[in-house]
């Protein structure tokens, strides 16, 4: 009798715990959804930027953080997704709701070919090839062959017929879905296989892991999310041109954010993107002249003392449970 009572109590407290987490998530989401109703445009646009970079960082982390193949060509996904979507809206009158996913799909389909070729190359050379791809595509978009389609260096100023709150809710939804996918994958067998590729690719192969297939799947998923966020990003900017779209900064910033938050974790990119953007905003606003120097200083401290990122450090110290789910 007493044992049954204690068992029931334990069961109840577990589901209590889980219900509390769900309650927390619901409250947070409700808060975030309601922001456009009470906050100024400044805050909404700041959050839009944070959310865009959260998806960039999470997308990068999903592939590079797990497989260990450092993707230095994130801007390529962003630029391709951005361009396809923008051109559909500006030149072909597509509605943004359709242009965005088409841009993302186009990016992920092409990434199959790119991945099939480039994922045979390992380590530094893979990283370099992705940079080369990005630089090459940027130049290509400005050449006379493609300019009729891409408008080349002139750029494409455009308006998508979307209000700020709607854009905000769209990117919020995308970020929410992206994080859930990252969560599901990181705690799945697929996620473990990707990590095994990072740990020892050949050993993984001789233990039955189809490394080529798994790498390409992760690559495509990354391409889709990043391409979609890119489409939204340039719609928000109301302008795109090759230098803007295939900019190395678009690759580096999400990587630094993920390093800051914790590579290979689920919430590392989220924490990184949020904190990073806030620090950037504060520094830039208060100390315009010195901010780059202080920024650089923070990065050095990061790399020297917290290479595993904030979340990684917290896991190590036991502040946060050391489980894959987070």
């Amino acid at each position: 009798m007493r044992r049954r009572f204690l068992e029931n109590l334990t069961l109840m407290s577990h589901s209590f715990e889980r219900n509390r987490i769900w309650l927390g998530i619901t409250i947070l989401m409700a808060f975030l959804i309601s922001i456009p109703f009470f906050a100024s445009d400044y805050w909404v646009t700041l959050l839009v930027l944070i959310l865009i970079y959260t998806v960039y960082a999470a997308g990068w982390n999903l592939f590079s953080g797990l497989t260990g193949y450092t993707n230095f060509g994130l801007a390529w996904f962003i630029g391709v997704g951005g361009y396809v979507s923008t051109l559909l809206i500006a030149d072909y009158g597509f509605f943004w709701l359709f242009a965005w996913p088409i841009g993302a799909l186009f990016t992920s389909i092409i990434s199959i070919g790119v991945g099939y070729i480039l994922l045979r190359i390992k380590g530094v050379y893979f990283a370099i090839s992705m940079v080369a791809l990005t630089e090459g595509t940027r130049e290509l978009f400005g050449t006379e062959y493609l300019t009729p389609i891409t408008h080349g260096g002139k750029g494409v100023p455009f308006v998508a017929g979307i209000r700020l709150p709607t854009l905000y809710w769209s990117i919020l939804l995308l970020a929410f879905i992206a994080i859930i996918i990252c969560y599901k994958i990181t705690s799945s067998k697929f996620g473990l296989r990707l990590m095994a590729i990072r740990e020892d690719e050949q050993a993984a192969e001789t233990l039955g892991v189809h490394t080529t297939r798994d790498k390409i799947i992760a690559f495509i998923l990354s391409a889709f999310f990043v391409g979609l966020a890119g489409a939204i990003h340039f719609t928000y900017q109301n302008y795109i041109d090759p230098t803007f779209a295939f900019n190395i900064q678009l690759t580096l910033t999400p990587i630094v954010m993920t390093l800051f938050g914790g590579v290979g974790t689920v919430f590392g990119p989220v924490i990184g993107a949020t904190l990073f953007t806030f620090i950037h905003e504060i520094l830039w606003a208060e100390l315009t002249v010195l901010y780059m120097a202080i920024f650089g200083g923070i990065l050095m401290v990061l790399v020297l003392f917290f290479p595993q990122g904030l979340l990684g450090w917290m896991k190590e110290k036991g502040i946060v449970p050391r489980i894959r789910k987070i």
Binding site: K189, L192, R193, M195, A196, E199, D200, Q202, A203, A204, E205, T206, L207, G208, V209, H210, T211, R324
Partner: protein, 234 residues
């Protein structure tokens, strides 16, 4: 009975160096065969060719009658061939449980159950949530073997399993191998420790400079003149 593994006139060169020189032999199912020879004889290269890590320049390899020459490593693994490495290759920044789960195929719950079973078998269950890099050398060897068992491999290639571990652990390891052999698994063991070969293997194949120089039951091998000269140094 059809051999579980057939090596047919296999040649492998690395530039000018002939690692395997028209090597041929059969492995009977359910046997424990020792693969011996000096360093550089071609033993690990042979393992690499069987598991698909390298492709032979000529010759064929058959597993249970089916040609596996040039197949990709993951295919060969899924067909029932597991191998361990001379220098232990487990997944350091993953937990023991994860190291095993990642190999498993099929329903998640079944895979986790099997992983726990195997951890009990190699007596590492209490460390299941520790990172593999936290294990001692000998424990890592056991984990590596458990990974191969997770594959449900019928043919197990062990590259110097007894090297660098204390005699007690060695005995435990060999006892485990015999237990698995009784259950039907075939083993090919590369070893330099002749005691291990003589006490635990039924047959042995000796390689030198990429050529098979002797083959047969262990008692025969022990008497072989050429081997005595080249390998045992008498």
């Amino acid at each position: 009975m059809e051999p579980i593994l057939k090596i047919d006139d296999v040649v492998k060169k690395f530039g000018e160096v002939v690692a395997l020189d028209h090597c041929s032999f059969d492995i009977e199912p359910g046997s424990i065969t020792g693969l011996i020879g000096p360093n550089g004889a071609g033993k690990t290269t042979l393992f690499n060719l069987i598991t698909g890590v390298l492709q032979p320049d000529s010759g064929h390899i058959y597993l249970k009658g089916e040609e596996i020459t040039g197949r990709k490593p993951y295919e060969v693994a899924r067909k029932g061939v597991g191998r361990t490495y001379q220098i232990i290759r487990i997944f350091p920044k993953m937990t023991l449980l994860e190291n095993l789960i990642v190999v498993g195929k099929g329903k998640e719950r079944k895979v986790v159950e099997r992983a726990m079973e195997l951890l009990h078998l190699v007596k590492l269950f209490d460390k299941k949530d520790d990172y593999a890099s936290d294990l001692s050398f000998g424990q890592q060897k056991l984990l590596s073997l458990a990974q191969v068992l997770m594959l449900d491999a019928e043919l197990v290639l062990l590259d110097e399993p007894a090297a660098g571990i204390n005699p007690t652990l060695q005995n435990e390891l060999m006892a485990l191998i015999h237990k698995l052999n009784d259950e039907g698994k075939t083993f090919i063991i590369v070893e330099h420790d002749m005691n291990v070969i003589m006490n635990h293997c039924q047959n042995a194949i000796a390689l030198n400079y990429g050529q098979k120089i002797a083959e047969g039951s262990c008692s025969v091998i022990q008497q072989d003149e050429r081997l005595l000269e080249h390998y045992f140094g008498r």
